[in-house]
Symmetry: C2
Subunit: 362 residues, 2 copies
């Protein structure tokens, strides 16, 4: 059974993976969270962190860690302009499309509305040579209809914009607490699998035209019986599920994901992330798109850039190499059931007249 | 000294090379010459070679040899639509922009005018995900002014079109005999260095906006004292220069080339091509873009596709691996004097406002 794929999507997705079709990607597109981390380590207010500091830290991390990545996700504001010379040959590029942060919304003011980065577009990303457009959307499947519709509309519009330019669309979904006292609570941990799985199911609908889903790990390992005694951060928490149950959530997530999916690190420590990668790829994830879990400890050494470089070259590189090793068993993206293997792939609209009919813009 | 490079050009050039910035690229965009070869082996008139035969042979060669290439050059007519599933992850893509062949022109009727492939464009190539646009132009620096102006105009226009879309522009220059009885003559061999070097100099002018030059080897090794006794094809020829002189031509070509350059194989046998790669890269070439020298013997096995595959997997792969080994000493493209090393590269228009000012189309 032949599965058609359009020229630009296929061509660019090929640039993001290793030779076997596995994503081992680094995220350095953080803006709000990086600003906060730099403010903390320099004892400043986040708004007083200078543009140059943001750009310099991104460039340093890109320079030392991009060589380990199959692709790098950065942002068009601080990251791309001052880091391009550190992107090595043959490493793919993803560019972020959302404005950092969110607007408080909904009846309780605890819901989140996103917006796109002004003065940026899929057309610009394509011209600049990006291999994919990344969109981070906060999403809670039990948020108010108004907030959900707002988020869905943006995603649908970016999906259409990407389709028009034949650009791969990577959608990142991040849930949040509405009723719970925070995300590090037993209540939220218990709820997380459902939030992550239902969100993945929603945006697997064809109308959103998502090519890769970037998903949270569908549980909180700190609340598993096996790791609840403080295995990762020394803090004891109640156990709300077992690792066997978490494996089940991962399988459910794979069933819900109608497109190849990768996991994000959301700033957990590297040891916890490695276990997430292992469990997710066992269940069918096609790799990871990881930022802070790999490099966050470098930021706490700022502004001592010599120490940062030393850390990045040693521990940072070691973190990345281990994450890559854990992703070796990931499912190649073209083996996701949407495609069923490279032997099924064929060019959409394939014909001797393809080059005539392929439209410059749709 | 900072050397500015635009986002789209840098980003895509990065996709064409190995990790060190060396081009080890395969050409399978032949149309006229492949049609002739298939006609010969099947005892047909070239015009009776079917579309499907062309597409099938291209797909077979792509499938077995693309994994050895850093990038593959194919054509939008026969090659791309039926070969995409055989392009492995992480292999770059170049698409041809010229119509195959040429129109006889000039006062003697022995000059050559080219034209672009109708219904194709840089915009389409970009949307389809190409990493570079390739244009083959026949060019003789002593052709009539009218023919030279015609060829120069096309090249200038494609250079502008590529600049507008921020796409890398690879220009292939092929000379031909006007006064001489053919290209396999001592007269043409003697003239060849001058033709190749002067053409490279012409299209190194900034007005043509060429990013990579794909050049002929600037001499005919069959007419060197060292190889004239039939070393490559058993046929003895007069010696018109020595290998030491040929080394000098290669150095002159490197001086004339104002942009990174690669050599083409023009259908010579693999043993001759390997020496060309060695001499050219010694002089500063950044690698090769090679077609027939690597795979032409497979075509003579057509229509026995099983035998073709056997040949491609063994001798074809061996040819490619050797060409890659010879290119290991090539100059990384960003070390060409135009750039002077990766440490000099910076984004054109780099500023905190880059993402606002970078125009979707220029």
């Amino acid at each position: 059974m032949a599965v058609p794929i359009s020229a630009g999507k296929w061509q660019r997705l090929r640039s993001l993976t290793d030779e076997q079709g596995r994503f081992k990607m680094m995220a350095i597109d953080q803006r709000g969270s990086l600003r906060k981390a730099l403010a903390k380590v320099t004892n400043k207010d986040p708004k007083d962190v200078a543009y140059d500091e943001m750009a310099q830290v991104k460039a340093l991390i890109t320079r030392h860690l991009a060589p380990y990545a199959t692709a790098v996700l950065t942002d068009p504001e601080y990251g791309y302009p001052y880091s391009i010379q550190h992107l090595p040959p043959r490493v793919g590029l993803l560019l972020a499309y959302e404005e950092t942060g969110y607007e408080k919304a909904g009846p309780t003011g605890k819901e989140r509305k996103s917006k796109l980065l002004e003065s940026w577009s899929v057309e610009k990303a394509q011209k600049a040579g990006a291999d994919a457009v990344k969109l981070l959307m906060y999403y809670h499947p039990d948020a108010s209809d108004e907030v959900k519709r707002h988020q869905q509309r943006i995603i649908r519009e970016v999906g259409e914009e990407c389709a028009r330019f034949d650009m791969p669309f990577l959608l990142e979904l991040v849930a949040y607490a509405i009723e719970e006292a925070g995300t590090d609570t037993p209540e939220y941990a218990r709820r997380k699998p459902d939030l992550v799985i239902r969100s993945a199911a929603e945006f697997s609908k064809p109308e959103y035209r998502v090519d890769i889903l970037k998903l949270e790990f569908p549980a909180d390992l700190k609340y598993t019986a096996e790791f609840s005694k403080g295995a990762f951060d020394g803090k004891e928490r109640p156990a709300v599920y077992s690792l066997a149950e978490v494996r089940g959530f991962c399988r459910q997530l794979d069933e819900a994901a109608g497109a190849p999916w990768v996991i994000l690190s959301a700033g957990v420590d590297i040891e916890e992330f490695l276990i997430q990668v292992q469990l997710a790829t066992e269940a069918g994830a096609s790799g990871f798109l990881c930022g802070r879990a790999i490099w966050k400890d470098a930021v706490s050494l700022y502004p001592d850039t010599a120490k940062m470089e030393e850390w990045l070259c040693s521990q940072g590189a070691y973190n990345f190499v281990r994450a890559n090793a854990y992703a070796e068993r990931a499912r190649p993206w073209f083996c996701h059931r949407k495609f069923g293997g490279p032997e099924n792939i064929e060019l959409a609209g394939r014909s001797p007249n393809w080059y005539v009919e392929y439209a410059p813009t749709a």
